[in-house]
Amino acid sequence: MRFRRPATLVAAAVLTLTTALAGCGSMLTPEQRAAVSGNGGYGASGGNGGGAAGPDAAGGPGQAAGPGAAGGPAGAGPGGGSAAAGPGSPGGAKGPGIGGGGCKPGAASDKGVTPNSIAIGNASDISGVVPSLFQGAQDATKAFAAYANANGGICGRTLDVHAYDTGETNSGDKAAAQKGCGETFAMVGSMSAWDNGGASDTSGCGEPDVRGMSQTKDRANAPTSFGAHSYNPGYYSTAGADYFGHKYPDGVKKAALLYINQGAVQSEVDAETKVDQSRGWNFIYTQPIDVSDVNYSPYVLQMQNKGVQVVIFIGVAQHGVRMAKAMQQQGYKPQAFIVDQAIYGDEYVSSGGSAVDGTYSEIQSLPLEELNSTPEGQLYVQWLQRVKPGAKPTMDGLVAWSAARLFATELVKLGPNPTRQGLLAALAGVHDWNGAGLTAPMDVAGRKTPPCSMFVQVRGPRWTRDGPASGYACGSLAGV
């Protein structure tokens, strides 16, 4: 249910003049920042992603202590040395290592590959209407590269990150894709609100694109693009509908769906309604809200009048806060207030105060609050601090790190002379990636939205896991 929709991001920010300024054409939707929240993680099943074959596959001393222990990318073997032993791992940033042990650097086997380095690109939204929308994705990619390089690189080659700013525009994404084609071996960890802009360019030049998460259908289905979070607007999971259906069996018979009407959200709303209804939900109030609307009290009044018991809200954090405050102001307390995964994050909690307490959301990755519970999460946090002291982990960063790990894992398998074609072929076989324990199981090659989710709730000043007690709750996928 809800929340897979990066496309919705587009919303509010568009309003800005700033946007207009930022690039006339730079119209984007703020939500994207949050949109990312859906990441994958891996489920209780503990499977691990493509990691199955992990870096170790190429041999090497593998590192025993990887997230593998938790079902993570196990086997990550070190080629260039384990994280613990790596030159850049002071402070004990332990993790799965990079892999490729025993593998010696080869020749300049393809674009961006030299005997000493591999150029990778990251095209993310940095400037634009919503400043630093996906800054976290770029930072995480740099962090992973630093981690890899500190551990001997990949087959002895260092990762050289070319950072591109897509500027929250279609044309920005296109320009970045074209640059990447000419300068880098592969794009890694990219996150761009209008990522359809360069989809055909990337696939046209045959460049592997291991993204954090695709935002549009065009990108999700592009032949050379693979999302570490395999969200695809064409597929929806029943996990959320089932979870809340069991929790509030009566409430879901009197449900409301309110959404900020911007971008491609309408198609998502239609799909979600269809999927939820198929699981016994009954929507007695469906309400699109214009992005420029600032007073939500009349909508709250309508829900009160109609006796709505469960409320689903799709928008970005500022809209969610506005709705929560309007409900609080009117003394309206439904059984459940469930917000889009795009709303999940610090901003909602810090700007919502007591009004947002009790809010639910559905995510497909480890909550940021639990990052330190896994070795891979610790690695992400520690290396992020090294490349950007003071930066906070973000959901886009989390999936970008997962993407970088996926890239490294598959690249190691290719040996000393990697080629784009070889990497694409390897990625085409990844159907169960979990980001070394960071995300739910993702069918990367199948390009299908993950069927498993975790449910979190605001309790006090933070998001807290509500269920399941461990791992993820899985549903079935419905294609729409």
Binding site: L15, L17, I126, G128, N170, N261, P298, S351
Partner: protein
């Protein structure tokens, strides 16, 4: 019945918010004749400052209010009037609008620079306490909003109509010299008015923040909805402004309560302020022509046909060469600059020659783009059809507002753009559920360099046609109408036909640009044509020079460069907005813009190069047009 009462109460609260926001607009307009688009951004800036002092620094409410509303806001208003607005009293609408848009951008950039984006909780006044009216809870915050609106209305009415200071303020607008002769201090009065306007913006920002949240954009743009209310009072009548605000608030509340919920009607609901604005404008009395006043604009020289042709060929060759020299990923950016330049050519006709300001030009670009995308885009006839369809729409837009001039005409174009946003571009019937339309390139030109050269050719052809128009009888008529409608009217010329023709011609060019844009990008989205994309367009058109083809080209490249610069140098961020805003404020008074400076520089250089032909020439950088 109880529901009706509840929706009424909510509508009144909303209306009170609009009223406070609109009142500041009225005060500044009444006393300076400047429609201050930046009004909302001042409120936004002050709301952030209030949050900083009260919530972040922990100052008590009363002290924070005193510092923000009593000191910072009036100081900002005073400085703005003294250093920016004072000279705009008699300036053309295009100039004052551009400068206030520049200020808006500068304030947004400032706020982003000082307070980077992050979640900020803004507590309501009196927390959750309130009183129950029927089924609805009226909180302390709501009561304060209504109370402040009433107090502001009463105080302003008394100030402007019953006090010497207020009367002096209004008199200063009509004739500053006369006020001075009567012992008044017109400059002080203007400063005072702007200080009050700024204080009201601060009050509105602080009161609305708990509802709207601390958001740079929404607080800034709230005034856009509020101006519909102010128009009812023709931006001068406070009672009518407040009436308009209340009616708007009620209409929006009832619409949520009683209109069926579907997408089409959702669009109607969102467009209520705009529909309200149109309705008010339709019943407005015709504006009387200015008599005894000629406001000529010194324009850059218009080149002769042969010279223009030669430069056109040079331009195309230069673009082709540049395309070959640039790396592949830069070529589409070059194309984008040319498309923007083409859109700015449409403003040269409309604003530069015709004297009409359009705040919604990108909506017209969108119509052209959508038409071409729907037709496929592979044939030049598709592009032509895009231009023609847009021309028809442009003429239709001009028809209902034929009686309006200046500011009202500009606002009507903004209203048109809003209607396009809310009712047309948002419609799934137009862009589909995926919100994207694909388009092919004309002649199947998949090569970026070839396509960009084609755009350059189109730009040159349209520019040559435009210059031919300017040199001919129609051009002289346009300039005459722009400078003195009364004189032209006295000569018996039908200005309405000319105006419709200018709108249609300008729209045709914008439509062609839209068609070429669709082909360049390969796909278009509704958000490509949002209302607010049009504002920087106007801003940079004036900075480049809205009276010349060269200015259009400069403006197009500047507009393209904006996102490129912020993208390649993210640290520029808000600073860049500040610079752009400041540049617009500095250059906005001369609609010949940078093009004029370039011509002057070229002439200066030529005059210092000894040659038989240049000897003895006078500098012709500006000629009366």
């Amino acid at each position: 019945m109880s529901s009706f009462l509840a929706f009424t109460v909510i509508g009144l609260v909303t209306g009170a918010g609009y009223a406070i926001a609109a009142s500041g607009l009225v005060v500044t307009y009444t006393t300076s004749r400047v429609f201050n688009i930046a009004h909302g951004s001042v409120g936004m800036l002050m709301a952030f400052l209030y949050w900083e002092l009260n919530t972040h620094q922990g100052w008590p409410v009363w002290l924070s209010l005193l510092v923000v509303v009593g000191v910072a806001a009036p100081l900002l208003g005073w400085l703005t009037e003294k250093y920016v607005m004072r000279t705009l009293v008699d300036a053309p609408v295009s100039v004052s609008l551009v400068i206030s848009v520049g200020l808006l951008v500068a304030w947004v950039g400032t706020a982003q620079w000082i307070w980077p984006p992050k979640g900020r909780d803004v507590p309501t006044f009196f927390g959750e306490s309130g009183i129950k009216v029927g089924h609805t809870m009226v909180t302390g915050q709501d009561l304060i909003t209504i109370g402040v609106a009433v107090v502001v209305a009463g105080a302003l009415y008394v100030l402007l109509n019953r006090t010497r200071v207020g009367i002096e303020m209004r008199a200063a607008v009509d004739n500053r010299t006369l006020v001075s002769l009567h012992g008044g201090k017109p400059q002080l009065m203007s400063s005072l008015a702007w200080a009050i306007g700024s204080m009201l913006a601060a009050v509105a920002g602080i009161l609305l923040t708990p509802v709207v949240q601390l958001d740079y954009n929404e607080l800034t743009l709230l005034v856009i909805s509020a101006y519909a209310a102010a128009i009812l009072g023709r931006l001068t009548s406070l009672p009518l402004t407040f009436l308009g605000a209340v009616v708007l608030g009620l209409l929006q509340s009832y619409a949520i309560g009683y209109l069926p919920t579907n997408n089409l009607l959702m669009g109607v609901r969102a467009a209520i302020p705009t529909l309200f604005l149109f309705a008010v404008m339709l019943v407005m009395p015709e504006v009387r022509l200015r008599v005894g006043q000629i406001k000529g604009i010194l324009a850059v020289p218009v080149p002769q046909a042969r010279k223009a042709g030669v430069w056109g060929v040079v331009f195309v060759v230069a673009v082709a060469a540049l395309g070959l020299a640039l790396p592949g990923f830069r070529v589409p950016q070059l194309g984008l600059a040319l498309v923007y330049a083409l859109v700015m050519l449409s403003l040269v006709l409309l604003t530069g020659y015709g004297g009409h300001v359009s705040l919604g030009q990108f909506s017209l670009v969108g119509i052209g783009a959508v038409t071409v995308a729907k037709l496929g885009g592979g044939s030049p006839w598709d592009i032509l059809a895009g231009g023609l369809v847009t021309a028809v729409v442009g003429a239709l837009v001009a028809l209902p507002v034929l009686r309006l001039t200046g500011l009202y005409l500009a606002l009507s174009t903004m209203a048109f753009a809003q209607l396009m946003d809310k009712l047309v571009f948002q419609s799934p019937y137009l862009f589909g559920l995926g919100n994207t339309l694909s388009a092919h390139r004309v002649f199947g030109l998949t090569n970026d360099r070839a396509y960009v050269t084609l755009i350059a050719v189109v730009f040159v052809l349209i520019a040559l046609a435009l210059l031919a128009v300017r040199r001919g009888r129609i051009g002289r008529v346009l300039i005459a109408i722009r400078d003195s409608p009364a004189a032209v009217g006295t000569l018996g010329l039908n200005q309405k036909v000319v105006r419709v023709a200018v709108f249609a011609g300008s729209s045709f060019i914008a439509g062609i640009a839209g068609g070429l844009l669709a082909g360049l990008q390969g796909q278009i989205q509704a958000t490509d044509f949002e209302l607010f994309v049009s504002l920087p367009l106007l801003l940079l058109a004036v900075v480049g020079g809205v009276t010349s083809v060269t200015g259009a080209a400069i403006g197009g490249f500047l507009l393209m460069l904006l996102p490129v610069l912020t993208s390649e140098s993210p640290w520029l961020g808000g600073l860049l907005f500040q610079l752009i805003g400041s540049a617009a404020v500095a250059l906005g008074r001369d609609s010949n813009g940078l093009a004029s400076k370039a011509f002057q520089a070229a002439w200066w250089v030529r005059s210092r190069v000894p040659s038989n032909q240049s000897a003895g020439r006078k500098e012709p950088a500006h000629v009366a047009a």
